[in-house]
């Protein structure tokens, strides 16, 4: 513990004493967005969680834009909050740098260590880049763990299947196929958990792995599938990100794929051995999906898919089975419509995951070569969903996830097969 928490932070935590809810907030240069998140947490402390002993712990990775100062000084002096607040407890707010290699993994490890030290019943981790956080959402993530109903609480946002296709087409279905857990947002940076879950995460030797830095959010979600843990999903309404420059899709897809495949590798002894479907309690009925986001450039993506496949086909030969590559080439036929259907997409994702596991080609090249395939799939899925009602579109997405779930046997076989 002393190697995870600095002496200064330890003494600050000792002054806090036992806790009911610890809200962790990992930051790194989030001066533009952290203020509202801190205020939401504090309103939740004073209103929704007024009877609980609470603290906010900001673990900062060395911000140079004054993020820790904003966290320390963020006020909640709006009239409505003051009138509605019924503060019954002392509210603690701690901001400290964390030890070790910079990255969210080290920050989360420190939050879990603090929760363990303070014997917190519930831990909520917030993402400073999610602008739609509200006091209600903070409480929604904390309550199932406080009530002893769940060990891990994942958010479920009201999103159309075409909003965040990297999640809906890649992360959600493959995570579900591997772990047997139908989380809507396995990649989410915000979640709630019990003190027991935090302690179990802390026990893992994986914290020392360099690879965890890539895959920390997914790894946390994967940890929820451990024996004896109960998982819940909290409906949090629409999700809005803070406006800031993020990587382009050509850089984002490799990052996410690398994180997903690395996470599967880190937790292979867990998911590849078991075959159970994990029960998921939804703390509230999921809201109906809203309207689709800005339309996908179907024609443009299709062009990039066709040209990318033609150029990278040779490289993909060592990652995909001949039949799958042949089917992709047929799907890319210039004179026909694009057809990256569910069965083909599942085969592609499973084989890419196995190729990453066995490093049949450079992992870096593999995830980059997958970008055109992803764009082709998104183009096909967007065309499929055109004209569908939101509810029907959601069912169409569920059909994809079920297809992946049924492919679990193939995934395990490919994953555990000796190197080709």
């Amino acid at each position: 513990m002393s190697t995870i928490l600095s002496d200064e932070l330890l003494s600050e935590l000792m002054a806090v004493g036992q806790l009911d809810v610890l809200v962790g907030l990992p930051t790194l240069n989030h001066a533009d967005s952290v203020g509202p998140v801190v205020r939401a947490a504090h309103v939740a402390f004073n209103r929704e969680l007024a009877r609980e002993r609470t603290a906010l712990l900001n673990m900062d990775g060395g911000s140079t834009d004054g993020t820790p100062d904003i966290v320390r000084n963020a006020s909640i002096v709006d009239r409505e909050t003051l009138l509605a607040s019924q503060s019954l407890r002392t509210r603690h707010r701690i901001s400290a740098p964390y030890h070790g290699v910079p990255g969210k993994a080290a920050a989360l490890r420190a939050v879990f260590a603090a929760a363990d030290l303070l014997q917190a019943r519930a831990v909520v981790v917030l993402d400073p880049e999610i602008a739609s956080v509200t006091p209600e959402s903070v409480a929604a993530l904390a309550r199932p763990a406080l009530a002893g109903d769940a060990d891990f609480v994942s958010p479920a946002y009201a999103r159309h299947p075409l909003d965040g296709p990297l999640v809906t087409q890649v992360v959600r279905p493959l995570f579900r196929a591997a772990y047997g857990l139908a989380l809507a947002e396995p990649l989410s940076g915000e979640f709630g958990c019990s003190g027991r879950f935090a302690a179990r995460c802390l026990e893992q030797p994986t914290w020392e792995s360099e690879d965890l830095r890539l895959a920390i959010d997914l790894w946390i979600s994967g940890m929820a599938t451990g024996d004896g843990l109960r998982v819940a999903e909290a409906a949090l309404g629409p999700r809005r990100l803070t406006p800031r420059q993020r990587p382009a899709v050509a850089a984002l897809v490799p990052q996410v794929l690398d994180a997903l495949f690395t996470c599967l590798r880190l937790q292979e002894t867990g998911w590849a051995a078991g075959s159970r479907a994990i029960a998921l309690a939804r703390s509230a009925s999921p809201p109906p999906p809203p309207d689709p986001p800005a339309s996908v450039d179907v024609a443009g993506y299709a062009t990039l898919f066709r040209e990318g496949l033609a150029a990278l086909g040779g490289m993909l030969e060592r990652a995909l089975r001949p039949a799958t590559l042949e089917a992709l080439r047929a799907a890319a036929a210039v004179d026909g419509p694009l057809d990256v259907h569910d069965e083909l997409w599942a085969a592609v994702m499973l084989e890419l995951a196995a190729a990453h596991r066995h490093a049949t080609i450079s992992r870096d090249h593999l995830v980059r070569a997958a970008v055109p395939l992803y764009l082709g799939r998104v183009a096909w899925f967007a065309a499929e969903l055109a004209g569908l009602e939101p509810r029907d579109a959601d069912e169409r997405l569920e059909a994809l996830c079920l297809h992946f779930e049924r492919s679990r046997g193939d995934l395990v076989a490919l994953w555990t097969a000796p190197l080709r």
Binding site: P165, A248, D297, E307
Partner: protein
């Protein structure tokens, strides 16, 4: 007359038979040396592979990034590469010994000349191998970057970069070997200069407006991956 013909034939054939009598044992000796060399080299390859496996070289090369570099260059894993190198070095040594066993003075003189070239050949070989690795990595990186940036003719661009890299590598290899150095350097300078001048004239002067218009049209008609991928998350 007939006697003279028979005598000449007899001498010729007896010379051939004598020659064969001398060569066949040497040939057999060479074959046994080469065969034994192949067996020893194969055994050394297997032992090297086992020892490197036992020493967990694969894990070490993963940790140091060497394995990733080899994969990027489409080369086999480090332990297999090392084992193959041991095999070929040993086998080539036995091949040269086999040539010696033949006892032909011409071949021996040739071998001596090759022996003098060996240090320079080894250096050139090292440059060639490193150049191949670099050229392969660069080609694939350029190909992936061009495809994902939505550039037209990504394969052509990657191929051109590969060719350029290999041209430079070839010039370095020939320079290292020291064969006709002035000719090699002059030819290299002429080729590179000519290519650059051609490109400069074609793109910079003669067809700049046309190329600009063509590129504008081509690029405008294409979809490019978004500059901000947050909508995908």
């Amino acid at each position: 007359m007939a006697e003279a013909i028979f005598s000449t034939l007899r001498e010729t054939w007896s010379g051939y038979v004598e020659g064969l009598r001398l060569v066949i044992p040497r040939l057999l000796a060479m074959l046994t040396v080469v065969a034994a060399g192949w067996l020893i080299a194969a055994l050394a390859r297997a032992i090297t592979g086992k020892v490197l496996g036992w020493l967990r070289v694969a894990r070490l090369s993963e940790r140091t990034g060497a394995a990733e570099l080899l994969r990027k260059a489409e080369l086999p894993p480090a332990e297999r590469l090392a084992a193959s190198t041991v095999f070929w070095l040993l086998f080539l040594g036995f091949l040269l010994a086999g040539v010696d066993a033949l006892g032909f003075s011409t071949l021996q003189a040739l071998r001596s000349e090759v022996g003098l070239l060996v240090p320079r050949l080894a250096g050139a070989l090292a440059i060639l191998v490193a150049g191949l690795v670099v050229a392969n990595v660069v080609r694939r990186v350029v190909l992936l970057a061009a495809v994902n940036a939505g550039w037209p003719s990504a394969s052509l661009l990657a191929g051109a970069v590969y060719l350029l890299t290999m041209t430079i590598v070839t010039a370095m290899v020939l320079d290292q070997v020291g064969l006709a150095r002035p000719i090699v350097l002059t030819a290299f300078a002429i080729v590179v200069g000519a290519v650059m001048l051609t490109l400069a004239i074609a793109v910079g002067i003669a067809s700049a407006p046309l190329v600009r218009r063509l590129l504008d049209e081509r690029m405008a008609a294409r979809a490019r991956p978004e500059s901000d991928g947050s909508s995908h998350l």
